[in-house]
């Protein structure tokens, strides 16, 4: 796969986040783009707002990597829509990413806590 130049850490971080969220959403079952966006927004209590425009490039990126697969189907609203579902590789990737997230979150928390505590001891 070609690379799109070198994204900044931030871009990389957010992009990775969106990827995990999409994969997590699809654990519940196949869904089309609009459903995925709504689910992410609702289940994060609207903290993570998905920019709908960036959702589709992300979906294609995941599909290119073989983590999700897609096909045309009919939605609940009786509209034609492209449905995405997790592949086996996608499940493995989600498990990997989840554990990595947890490790990192723990580490960041551990760093931040003592820093807050030490604040008063320094002039």
């Amino acid at each position: 796969m070609g690379k799109r130049g070198t994204p900044t850490l931030q871009e990389d971080f957010l992009q990775g986040t969106l990827d995990v969220l999409i994969l997590r959403t699809l654990v519940l079952g196949p869904a089309h783009g609009h459903t995925i966006a709504s689910v992410i927004e609702h289940s994060s209590e609207d903290v993570l707002r998905v920019e709908h425009g960036s959702l589709y490039p992300a979906l294609h990126r995941l599909e290119d990597r073989g983590w999700i697969a897609s096909e045309w189907g009919v939605s609940d609203n009786n509209r034609k829509a492209r449905f995405y579902k997790l592949t086996r590789a996608g499940r493995r990737e989600l498990a990997d990413q989840t554990s990595r997230w947890e490790t990192m979150a723990r580490a960041v928390t551990r760093i931040l806590r003592p820093a807050v505590g030490a604040k008063g001891s320094r002039p």
Partner: protein
């Protein structure tokens, strides 16, 4: 990734569009469900998604070979831009084509003779065995271009199988295929029976020479043709195999034809006919070299076991040398010669690239020419860079607009670089094609009437790599600097319009530096060119002490006539009379060593009982020789009919001989002997005449001691007879000579040349260097002058306003003229100083190729600098004159 997106972009895109439409539809549904009106719902949905076209673009570009694609886009754009400015493109491509073509042609030749290995399997395991004579030199007869070994040495070395597991030997010589009349020389190859098998050469037809073809006696001599000769002479006819070929009149059966890619081991030459070593005795009869231990005519080579190197073999060969040389010491040697011979050592050298006289003679000149052609290409690139800078200025607005509407600097830079890369690439492709033609012309230029070089100039990976490298380097040289500059300029400054004032300064400095560099490089090339031109002129004008104009050399081969030795003196006398009777011939003389054709014969003499340290050159001539070549007699007499074999031995010497051995230029009546092996007759020679000094074998030589012996007193006779003839101008002699020869004996073969064409042939390398370096030097100066002209024209255009103002305020046109000239003179002088320094440092490389002058000749440096300065003045005069004739009103109004 899905490749569909590249090949069926429309269908792929429609699918993306449908997906995004579906998304919007769902969002509208949701919004309506939340209670919005249809219109509001639609607007909100669209706002939330963003621009669908941009999203589709994003997806399309994601993970694609977008970079490549946009480079392709750049290339197409560049092609369009260049098509629009056709004049610039034509000039650029033409100079690049010529420059890259010339460089590639020279490199191709170097690649073929220096870098390429022989076209046989495993060339890296081949070694050549050489004799190290420790500076004493070898004594005896040297035949062909590579007289490195004698046959007795070869027969001894082929038994040393522990050191040389797979030995073979070969020698080169011109074979004559004529049965009588005019000679038909072909490039001959003597080969030992192992030659073709060991090298792994395959036949193209029939079979090659085998081990059992090469045995003493040679009952059934066979010949093998090269593929080229077979095509040329037999039209590639399959039934050529089995036919009879007559080599020196001896019939030989054509056994087969060698494969096309094998042209012999002498890189640069092609063999025509190969015959086994044993056939030498059949062809030469009692003059055979097979048993002569002092006749050097062979090259001994071997294939080593894998992993054994020449370096590892050499000490072992050196250790074996004493026994090898002891077993082969020539009986004909004097005591001193024999003493030296026994101390010779054998060495081994890698022979993966064969041996090559072309390489020995032309490797250095070719590298030098490559350097010269490279410098010309750099100068041409300087002009292109100048043009690019000028264009960049003209395109400032275009670039500013592109920067202003959001193109990144990197993108603009790449666009400009792609333009120069495209030019270089086109130049490289055309140049590579041109190189084939130029390379063949170069090979033809090196050849002489008797010597046709054959070089397989293939476009292999090395040559193509060189072309690619040139394309990259040239585009970097003329493209990158202007592109970086153009992309760096702030868009506002360019868009603000009008003439740039301060922002142009840096660019003008760059252009000035370019011109300084061009002048400096051209001075180096001009100095080099003058060195070679003067060398050639010195050699051509070199005084040989002889009047060579109108002297014809006729050589006769009477081996097919079976004339008994005792009849030869009489035969020769009658033959000379017949030749002298040809209309147009004024005088004719037999001669043992034809002057100035490169052959030599020297020996030690004994004066007052002591063998000399200096070996004088020797020649054996008839009475008319001095008349034919216009050599004046200083004292004493010439040879006469009274100098018979029974009369006392007489000699005529030159003045250098007298000074070297008797401390007087005219040692009349003195006696000397030759240093011969003990037991041989050694009569004294009396000096009866002294002649003016002459050159002996080469115009580069000094006048050395030279002794002439009387042809009429010769005791040994050969089947070869060389003669020199003084002819009246305009006489077409060759047919008359051939007719006269046929009349005497139709089996005698004759070849005719003029002495001057032989001398010209010896100057081929000098002529090549003078012609090519002269051409490149003139071209370089012209290019530098064009560069200077361009700069001056630009400066005048830039300073129109200022000059107009000066003129309006009353400045004299003459002062404006001198102001502009001064401006260019500063650059030229700086360039000349740098160039003179560079030339001073580099001309030493050519020292060995020069004759009659020093590489750092100050007069020559000064004349080159003057010539270049004059050209530069002429180039800057026109724009300067135009500046001084500027009409102030128009110049000022234009602002």
């Amino acid at each position: 990734m899905s490749w569909r997106r590249y090949f069926r972009r429309a269908a792929w895109d429609a699918e993306r569009r449908a997906e995004l439409d579906a998304h919007i539809a769902h969002e509208i549904d949701d919004n309506i469900a939340r209670g919005m009106s249809l219109a509001a719902a639609r607007t909100a949905a669209h706002r939330k998604l963003g621009n669908p076209a941009l999203i589709r673009e994003d997806i399309y570009r994601m993970n694609t070979i977008r970079w490549l694609e946009s480079v392709w886009q750049d290339a197409r754009y560049a092609a369009r831009v260049l098509r629009r400015s056709r004049a610039f493109a034509v000039v650029a491509i033409l100079s690049l084509t010529l420059g890259i073509g010339a460089n590639t042609a020279i490199f191709g030749l170097i690649e073929a003779v220096r870098l390429r290995t022989l076209p046989v399997p495993h060339p890296e395991t081949l070694v050549a065995v050489n004799v190290d004579s420790h500076g004493w030199g070898r004594t005896g007869e040297f035949v062909g271009r590579f007289g490195r070994m004698t046959n007795p040495l070869w027969e001894r070395l082929r038994t040393e199988r522990d050191l040389l597991p797979q030995p073979f030997a070969w020698g080169v010589q011109q074979f004559d295929l004529a049965d009588g009349g005019e000679s038909q020389p072909v490039d001959g190859l003597w080969v030992s029976g192992e030659f073709f098998d060991t090298l792994g050469v395959r036949p193209a037809a029939g079979r090659l020479i085998r081990h059992d073809d090469d045995s003493r006696g040679c009952p059934t001599p066979v010949a093998v043709l090269s593929h080229g000769f077979w095509q040329r002479q037999y039209g590639g006819a399959p039934d050529a195999v089995g036919r009879t070929l007559r080599v020196y009149g001896v019939p030989m059966t054509i056994a087969g034809v060698s494969e096309p890619r094998f042209t012999g081991l002498d890189v640069g030459r092609n063999f025509d006919v190969a015959i086994p070593l044993c056939a030498e005795a059949v062809v030469r009869g009692n003059r055979s070299r097979l048993n002569r231990a002092d006749s050097w005519w062979l090259v001994v080579m071997a294939r080593l076991a894998p992993g054994v190197t020449a370096e590892a073999l050499s000490p072992k060969l050196a250790a074996r040398s004493a026994t090898v040389f002891a077993a082969t010491a020539p009986a004909t040697y004097t005591t001193t010669d024999k003493e030296h011979y026994l101390q010779f050592t054998l060495t081994a050298a890698g022979a993966a690239r064969g041996v090559s006289g072309l390489r020995t003679n032309y490797e250095q000149p070719l590298w030098l020419l490559l350097g010269i052609a490279g410098a010309v290409l750099v100068i041409a690139c300087g002009n292109l860079a100048n043009l690019m800078l000028a264009r960049a200025r003209a395109r400032e607005r275009e670039i500013a607009v592109r920067l202003a509407i959001g193109a990144s600097r990197g993108r603009v830079l790449r666009q400009l670089v792609v333009e120069s890369v495209l030019l270089s690439a086109v130049g490289a492709v055309l140049g590579a094609a041109l190189a084939g033609v130029l390379g063949r012309a170069l090979v033809a230029l090196i050849g002489t009437p008797g010597t046709t070089y054959f070089v397989d100039l293939e476009l292999n990976w090395r040559v193509l790599g060189f072309v690619g490298l040139l394309a990259l380097v040239t585009s970097a040289l003329f493209g990158v600097l202007p592109a970086v500059r153009a992309a760096r300029t702030p868009p506002r400054a360019m868009l603000s319009g009008g003439r740039g004032t301060s922002e142009g300064r840096e660019r003008v400095l760059a252009r000035r530096l370019l011109v300084v560099g061009q002048v400096a490089l051209s001075l180096v090339l001009l100095v080099g060119a003058l060195l070679f031109v003067v060398t050639l002129r010195n050699l051509q004008a070199a005084d040989t002490g002889m009047q060579t104009a109108g002297v014809v050399v006729a050589e006769f081969d009477s081996r097919r006539s079976q004339i008994a030795d005792e009849r030869r003196p009489e035969f020769e006398r009658q033959f000379m009379q017949r030749l002298a009777a040809i209309p147009g011939v004024e005088a004719v003389s037999p001669v043992a060593i034809v002057p100035m054709n490169g052959n030599t014969w020297n020996d030690a003499i004994v004066v007052d009982g002591k063998p000399s340290q200096i070996y004088p050159n020797i020649n054996r001539v008839g009475p008319a020789f001095f008349d034919v070549l216009g050599i004046p007699l200083v004292a004493g007499r010439l040879f006469t009919v009274q100098d018979t074999p029974s009369a006392p031995r007489v000699a005529i010497v030159n003045e250098a001989f007298g000074r070297a051995f008797y401390n007087t230029p005219t040692p009349l009546n003195q006696e000397f002997r030759f240093d011969v092996p003990a037991g041989e007759p050694n009569p004294p020679y009396q000096i009866v005449g002294v002649v003016r000094n002459t050159k002996y074998s080469d115009s580069r030589d000094e006048f050395g001691p030279l002794v002439f012996l009387a042809d009429s007193q010769a005791t040994r006779w050969t089947v070869f007879l060389s003669t020199v003839l003084r002819t009246r101008p305009g006489a077409a002699l060759t047919p008359a000579l051939i007719a006269a020869t046929r009349e005497v004996d139709p089996r005698i073969v004759v070849s005719v040349q003029t002495i001057e064409s032989q001398m010209q042939g010896a100057l081929v390398r000098e002529r090549l260097m003078a012609t090519l370096s002269g051409f490149f030097g003139a071209l370089a100066s012209l290019l530098a002058a064009v560069g200077l002209y361009g700069l001056m024209a630009y400066l005048v255009a830039r300073r129109r306003f200022e000059i107009g103002l000066r003129l309006a305020l009353g400045a004299e046109p003459r002062r404006v003229l001198s102001m502009m000239i001064r401006e260019s003179a500063v650059l030229v002088v700086i360039g000349l100083v740098i160039g003179a320094g560079l030339a001073w440092l580099t001309t030493g490389w050519a020292a060995t190729l020069l004759f009659g002058l020093e590489p750092k000749d100050p007069v020559l440096f000064a004349s080159a600098a003057l010539a270049l300065a004059a050209m530069a003045l002429a180039a800057s005069f026109i724009p300067a004159l135009r500046a001084s004739r500027l009409d102030p009103t128009t110049a000022l109004r234009a602002e």
